[in-house]
Symmetry: C2
Subunit: 302 residues, 2 copies
């Protein structure tokens, strides 16, 4: 084989306004959130996770979910989605006029209890209710499987467990499923194998990859996922997410680093890197600190 087997086109799903900002302690004003989302959209991103309908006490940063969603322009060409981790959150989303909701189920029991304070099975039951609700209101629902590539509490995850969760998601009518390396414990060989096996086992599923860069393998894991046929990658502007107060401990893989790699390899994303960096620099200004992506670091050199 003379070339790595890679797709011609990749959809970048920007999760920074939700997954990135939810880890930021200082409150970011709704207007700044909206401006960030508008800058991201202006760079050519066509799929943005903008907020989370989560209890304001659990994640105070997302307490303005309704406000942010209400302030956004009525884009027809951009998929705007919001997270809801339970039926109550989904109801809030419906009331706020959300068109696309995302939910998440931890494949590991311990992570489920730590993250949403309930068992995996309880989360699955709630998923079925959420799916019903969304159907009734003609809202699209996607789902993410958390800690597929390793759990900070339970360690390695058996693939049969991941397959079980995916099966239940598909049964509920969900088609778009994101495999998430929530703790950044994945490696390229494993990402390739898991993505390959899940795509083969569930050809009716449309799989995305959600990658964190905690241990420096983020971009390599994305590469491995693409080689396994994944064509949707979830990334966060500025590499925001994870634990932002510790030097080098990046969270999500940075959108601009992934877009740079894809661009260099001739893979189409529709995203303009220089405009994306404007969004990153705006966010850096709002937060008053340097963000961890390599491309933003290079901005300072140019």
């Amino acid at each position: 084989m003379d070339k790595l087997n890679l797709p011609k086109q990749v959809l970048i799903r920007e999760v920074g306004p939700r997954d990135g900002l939810q880890n930021v302690a200082e409150y970011v004003k709704s207007a700044d959130k909206v401006q960030l989302i508008e800058l991201l959209a202006a760079s050519g991103l066509r799929d943005i996770e903008v907020t989370s309908f989560v209890h304001p006490k659990a994640v105070p940063q997302m307490r303005d979910a309704e406000v942010v969603l209400g302030m956004l322009p009525p884009w027809s060409e951009i998929e705007i989605s919001s997270l809801a981790l339970n039926l109550k959150g989904a109801h809030r989303g419906v009331t706020a006029g959300a068109k696309n909701l995302v939910t998440s189920i931890s494949v590991s029991e311990s992570h489920s209890r730590h993250n949403v304070n309930r068992s995996r099975e309880e989360a699955i039951i709630d998923l079925l209710n959420m799916a019903e609700l969304c159907k009734a209101y003609d809202i699209s629902l996607r789902a993410s499987v958390s800690v597929v590539f390793g759990c900070p509490y339970d360690g390695k995850i058996a693939l049969t467990e991941t397959a079980y969760v995916i099966e239940r998601m598909l049964e509920s009518g969900i088609r778009e499923i994101s495999l998430a390396d929530t703790a950044g414990l994945g490696n390229p060989q494993q990402v390739y194998q898991i993505c390959t096996e899940m795509r083969r086992e569930f050809p009716e599923g449309m799989f995305a990859l959600h990658i964190h860069d905690t241990r420096g393998l983020g971009v390599a894991n994305v590469l491995a996922g693409l080689q396994a046929g994944i064509q949707i990658v979830e990334t966060s502007i500025g590499g925001l997410g994870g634990c932002p107060f510790i030097p080098n401990a990046a969270g999500n893989v940075a959108t601009e680093d992934v877009v740079y790699m894809l661009q260099e390899m001739g893979i189409e994303t529709g995203v303009d890197l220089s405009k994306l960096l404007e969004a990153g620099n705006f966010l850096s200004g709002v937060l008053g600190r340097t963000l961890s992506s390599k491309q933003l670091g290079l901005c300072k050199i140019r």
Copy 2:
């Protein structure tokens, strides 16, 4: 294919004491350099580039090449090498008792003039002289081809140019050739293609990959090289190299990040990651600043 095609074993060639430190402005004492090299050896590294016989005015940091080489223990199981960019440097190496020398030729004319102030052809003629000298003194000589994956002055490099330089190296009797992404301009698809083609065109060559992480693709480029059959990777402790005074502008790909990836994928390197981090932390202490590798960043969290 159910797995990425990767080697079972990889030789990590540590170039930090030479390629990393030569970019550090503040002078590092010879004793500290030696202690760093000893810590690197203690981690299990079996191939270390320790210094450079370069003019002290050009690279003041390497002015103690003879001293450092003389202070090292007489390791039999570790390959200790030194850089020499011309015949004069090679003579210094011979006199200092070097057993392994490395040289480098820029495939791009402009980079050759910027880097060593002479044409590529002049460098090749000097290489032939160096090869003769090394043969006479029973010293092994390796060579590196610089800016194979892109030149900051000349842009893209035609593969025929790289092949020409490799051919001249092989003619001189050199077998071990490192393909270097000196400016960090490579991408995984290109690394895979160039490594594949050069290995096919020159089956008598033993190719290594020298990767910089300037634009965040370092680890992914290493992965692509391994998929192309490369089994020797040149890395630098702490990601030192490049431009150390600009935040996020890492130089070489960090040894500990590559070792972590290989370890997680079950590829043997013989290196103990925790001992490697001790070497990184020692270096960080000597330089009085945080180094850019993800694994060292995580040390602070643990």
